[in-house]
Symmetry: D2
Subunit: 496 residues, 4 copies
């Protein structure tokens, strides 16, 4: 159970504590932030509303703790992460439970998120040992005019303090995908969890606490974005920001100092379907890609470009599968659960109404109860409808019919986003040519967009982000290069 057993330390009264300097603490603000359960629409949890002063202290401690952490042998860093991973997986139930309550994630998926997060931490530990332990030796005589009298030793070293800001939809997984690379690379870490998902994050952080990381190395600051958001992201002690979320990322990037940024923002992942595609495969992928977790995924299928000739058949197949989706509370493992907030539900409904006004064909009746929106396929969508361009983050998928491959590529590339895309075709030549032509960070051939497996690179172009993620790339991104040059008094060549 959440906040019981080993987790009992993290709660004080009915407010969850924040984590700093190796301890669970109450904020001096005396204030808290309420977390609304999307299903009940009633307050479920409360977390501390931390002050700027508390942020300052956490940063100061992070800066201090990092210096000795950077002097800890790589294998020891790895060992602690393996331990944290094991503790995390062991407590998948209480943490998963928080996910169910805070973000209405179907129970089964919530547990999977925790387990997958543990795997990620372990993989990260081993990957980081290699990236940090594996430098380069360059010699001067490669470059014209030089003899071999300079040996350049280059290493990857930590950046310092990493600020991690995950989004609500995978608060645990997208937090550890920042925490684990930061730590194995020798950085310290300040986590600012999303409000919705904060309690899951606090539980997860406690697993790292139990693993025995040094004091101050990790902290988790809760509070209102409006109060401490800018303060955090422009804090002079922050050496790197890893952010996943919406368009506020662009604002953060514009205000941030001269530090490395890893940003994964929105997407409008397109699905181009050719005439020779396996339509059952496509339909399954649209269901999985478009409706799982009610479409609240960066890499959800957000618009379908179907060749005219197979569009009817495809829509029919998708509709047959939509009909089987269960709709209801996350505790019952329903396929479609309430979206994260009333604001979100209203926004989604706005897109639906706009599409209705402009003549989209509704394959299902639009239905909403509170934050719960029934799954909806919109056919005959046209580019002028908002749903054709905007990101619903809800269980609504638009179908645009195209007459040529070029038309599909054109639509895809005219989006301001460039996260992922996918193409369904059996034809190897078309698959490769279309993949090359789509201006997105990743193109999936014959599968819905997806972030994982977690060691694959993951990146968004244009307004979808900056930098590449995936375990290897994230670790690299959280390091910088340092070189030491040994200058010899005379040329020397290694003999054998």
């Amino acid at each position: 159970m959440a906040s019981t057993g080993v987790f009992s330390d993290i709660l004080y009264g009915d407010v969850f504590k924040y984590y700093a300097d190796g301890e669970w603490k109450k904020s001096s603000s005396g204030q808290s932030v309420a977390i609304i359960n999307p299903t009940t629409r009633k307050p479920q949890y409360k977390v501390q509303a931390c002050t700027k002063e508390e942020v300052n202290k956490a940063m100061e401690r992070a800066k201090f703790a990092q210096k000795s952490w950077a002097r800890t042998p790589l294998w020891k860093r790895g060992e602690l992460l393996h331990k944290a991973a094991a503790i995390l997986k062991e407590h998948k139930s209480p943490i998963g439970e928080c996910l169910v309550k805070e973000i209405a994630k179907p129970a089964k998926d919530a547990f999977t998120e925790v387990v997958r997060s543990g795997d990620l931490v372990s993989y990260c530990a081993e990957e980081g040992v290699r990236i940090l332990g594996d430098g380069k030796l360059l010699v001067s005589d490669s470059f014209p005019g030089n003899d071999r009298s300079k040996y350049c030793l280059t290493s990857k070293i930590p950046l310092g303090v990493v600020l991690a800001i995950p989004p609500y939809n995978y608060p645990v997984n997208l937090a550890v995908s920042k925490i684990a690379p930061a730590l194995i690379a020798g950085n310290s870490l300040v986590l600012k969890p999303p409000t919705q998902g904060a309690v899951s994050c606090l539980h997860m952080v406690h697993c790292f606490h139990l693993a025995g990381f040094p004091k101050g190395l990790i902290s988790c600051i809760t509070g209102k974005g409006s109060q401490i958001g800018d303060f955090l992201t422009t804090h002079p002690d922050v050496d790197c920001i890893s952010f996943t979320g919406g368009d506020t990322g662009i604002a953060i990037a514009k205000k941030a100092g001269m530090i490395p940024l890893q940003m994964e923002l929105g997407g409008k992942d397109a699905c181009i379907i050719l005439e020779d595609a396996d339509l059952n495969l496509v339909a399954e992928n649209i269901i999985k890609g478009g409706f799982s977790y009610s479409g609240q995924r960066c890499t959800a299928v957000k618009v379908i470009f179907a060749m005219e000739s197979i569009a009817d058949a495809l829509v029919e197949k998708v509709n047959a599968r939509v009909a089987k989706l269960t709709v209801g509370p996350p505790e019952k493992n329903c396929d479609i659960t309430p979206v994260v907030s009333e604001a979100s539900a209203n926004f989604i409904e706005g897109l639906i109404m706009d599409a209705k006004d402009k003549g989209a064909k509704f394959c299902q009746e639009h239905k909403r109860e509170g934050n719960l929106i029934w799954p909806l396929l919109l056919d005959h969508v046209t580019p002028d409808m908002r749903i054709a361009r905007e990101e619903p983050f809800g269980p609504v998928v638009p179908v645009i019919r195209i007459k040529s491959i070029e038309e599909g590529i054109h639509h895809c590339n005219s989006s301001k986003y460039g996260l992922q895309g996918c193409v369904f075709t059996k034809d190897i030549n078309k698959a490769m040519l279309i993949s090359d032509a789509m201006e997105t960070g990743t193109v999936q051939i014959n599968s819905a967009p997806a972030r994982g497996p977690d060691h694959f690179p993951f990146q968004g172009f244009k307004d979808s982000g900056i930098g590449s993620q995936g375990i290897t790339n994230s670790i690299n991104m959280m390091t910088k290069t340092k070189s030491t040059v040994i200058n010899l008094p005379s040329p020397s060549y290694s003999m054998g």
Copy 2:
């Protein structure tokens, strides 16, 4: 001769044209910017004062030209760069002559800069063919829970439009070290040269023009920073900024959008000298590192931390060598030539006067004529003097005497800069331990700081910059990762 022969196209009347859309053009502004010769302190050249509209057009063309350049075979891109390199080296005289007049660089060094730039372009071409041509193939079964049904193909692809802003001190070399990586990686390039150095840059750009690059791929916009600086650095069509220069880089970083930045700003490169150092070697390196090009180098030796016991002997040796430095105009290949501007000379003099007031020992008499400042070693400098912390960018080198290695490291690490540092000792253990302890991008053991050879990584920490340069790193920095995932219907393992 500058602006004659093949270069005659680039001059109109007495004003040099700017380069855009594959042509040399006059600005519609009808205005020009004068370039003052640091030696004569009189106007030497004039360049176009381009308008925002002209910037917009160049950006638009750059965006357009990049799309087909990205579809040009790698070897062809390389071939064009090799051609430009050859043309550049062939015209080292007229270009070097501009360097002499614009930035008072000693003639010999000016020619070397051009030749070295040609070598850099060629090396870059070959390096880029490999970086862009060499992607990764990842498989899904590395990560727990996955079988081998996903093959992920990752490539480095171009960013789009790169904005290059080199500084006055190596206007040609630090321009091509941005241009060549950008081009071989498939980007287009907009160059904003420094005012001092602009005409050298225009000549250099003409060599690329003669090599036959496509129209619009490269442009060179001259003008006043105050008029078009911010407009350029915040332009929405810019996908990457590569900047070398002073602290304005930090302001640029803070205003720039969500794009990759490569910034190399100031430095206060320290030289730590232990008791067992070869003092002749040290003295030679201080002369070379501290006084060449009158100290106007990012990686100049900017402060010396000498162990008390050998400080007197060292100072004597340095003084003996300072006495032999020739002082005068660049045309005569003098060692010490006028600094770039009167403002700069005034600033340097300010630092000297401050040191005098606070009791530094002057090893030579301070002497100045116009922009020409005689070389000066300041001994017994203390941390409270400005010269101990600030970057003179002139022929003045302070010596601080230290009692322990730790003291030297402490001084070095308390600087706001972190570009390079060096340590002189014969002792292998001390050399390595001190190198590890110094918080700078590079540490040179037994040599003055230096940017080259150009394939070595080059980076500054803290306020000295972001990102790593050097040919390989610059090319990588000017690319992004794209991945294509082939999803198979069943697991497949490669057999042999």
Copy 3:
């Protein structure tokens, strides 16, 4: 013209000299070996029959020259190779002419071979600069129980003396694909050319001579394999053998000492054709892959496995193209030219007769004049025929009809060879699954087998060889790893 102009030095009387110690020499044996023109079947050229003593001297010089070559800056090694490449391309005509006379290669292809060889040498130079100049820095604290007190610097260094033995079919290209990697990696090189092709090789070696490589670094020993073959391959001074040729490679491997071997032997490259393949594309690839240079290529298409349902259509398309092949002397650029020797022609005819006896269907009439064999497609070939398993190295291509993909894979994998294979299908899933299942070094999807482009890896499994070629792999193979470990008295961690 061969042996005139700059090449006049290499001929003495009517016998071509051999090359050793930087000079063109006559053998003390007083004997020569005649080279028979495959077209005229008359002696065309004579080369020296070198003695064992001369081999010993060349080896001794190679050993000596290598030591200082290994101390030559990488860029200088590269510069010499670029020069050799330019000279080689400049003299494509005389060298190509030798190829026409010695091995009956169609004139156009002969010139192409020389030019492509020059490109290979240049590419190799640049690749090698990077491979040799790019070492690793490993630290001890990656491994459990260690702190960071050991820094391991690893480099690739040369092996010593490389023995290169190319085959007759690409004597120039397959010689330089061994010479260039050996040299850029810092090795010396002893070349034993094939008898047929020796004079082309001598001309090519002269281009390296003209480029100015140090004395003794390269030598070219001609003579009878029966006299000096084993002596060379088991010579104690040889540190590496790079061999391309027939099954004698296996014998060499078994007798060679404890040295790295790179062997590329025979192949029986299969072509699997699925029902959905583009049959015009297939037919063109069979013509190009099976009949160019009269099938005398390692990677020639040597057996076709066609799905029953499309076999008739395919055979018809191939036959239509076979009918258009020109047959005659290489000087006239005929498609089909005489095979290299009477022995070879007899062997090919033996395979044809065996197939006839066992009931293969002849799509064309079998015709032979001297060494000239008319192109022949054999249909309805069965696994019991020799042509189904043996390598004809002639213009004869067998077609085996299959009922399933599995049958095709089974046939391919039951060969004792494993060089390349190819599969023709539009289906992305089948293409990948079949490629993974075929047990050959390379699988080409929708193209005939091919060695190039030369930077791609190229390797044979089973009796087809050992080691991987292609420029990058060949250079790596001709190096060994050396490491230097700096042991510090206390742990040290690099700070930034």
Copy 4:
């Protein structure tokens, strides 16, 4: 206790069984081989004398099992290896006990060997996941004349059946350093343990059995080298030999077929000591490097080249430490224990007597009891003495006094061996220049030669071996490259 508890299955009567096809078996030979305890000089254990037929069966099963193992997801292979590592470490006591009895290894070192072996297996698992999972994507347009229409996907794939032959001195560690790379890379493995050490190996293999690897994937064949040695090493089903041991390795290399070989044979690791060396550090390293495990280590310090001026002082310091070495049985953790066999003791004594005859100065009295030889430092050794060139593999260390660095390097490089070497000096320049000049696989600066940490590369030059070991290199060596080329109908460039 050995052969009890979980190990009780591996003993039948008083003869240990061999392992094949997933089972512990008696040989049909009905014969056994006795293992003599070096301390008691009496038979300690018996193992099966396997027949050629049994070898054939094991090979056949290995070949079969490998095919499906190569189709097992990488993470699953890794998981099994982690399990085996844990079981191995858990049973360090019984396995260590065997090492004490079979090879007279001091008890503490014996346990360490087992634990370090477990760490190696785990590290290997993670490294292999990365090496096998990380292929390359090459494109055709890197090479002149090509557009981007060919995408080449290259992977590392398994070789097939690996034959592992470890030596007696680290039978467990040097077995797992072959087994773990072989398995994670997807190979099957046939282990031929040394006679002395066979029972330790059988216990270790049982840990892999308990971990649950598939039947037939691993086998362990015991028997007389004279009966099955050549049969194993020339077996047609063997695809790779990894051998550590003495000069028989050269014979194996000469007879082996065309397969990759990894050979680590003898060494005569030199220690060059300069005048500025820290003599206490040197003396400690000579004790550790020359006398630990009675000098029976490949990388033992086998000859000391000391600068004349510090030789006396050094010898004194070493002698003082030799005097403190304990001599006696391994059970008591003595520093010096009996050497492995009477033959070995006799050989060592022969070298000692030769040195005596030729006038070496004995720093200690020579003393021997059975196989126990007291530690001995021989001073004033000259190059004509056998001990100056031959490998004693016993607790005897010769000191040769040198007058110059060049003399030391010359001695070192004239050895037929080239495993490791070391140099002691504080001087960074001399350290680097001497390291470059020494023609050995590795040079240690300021430490005795050493194989570990196990991820560092480890290789011998000349008669010391072929190929590079260390975890990463061993895994690479046990793979081959396979490439798949996707040929597109038209050029395609990846856009972003």
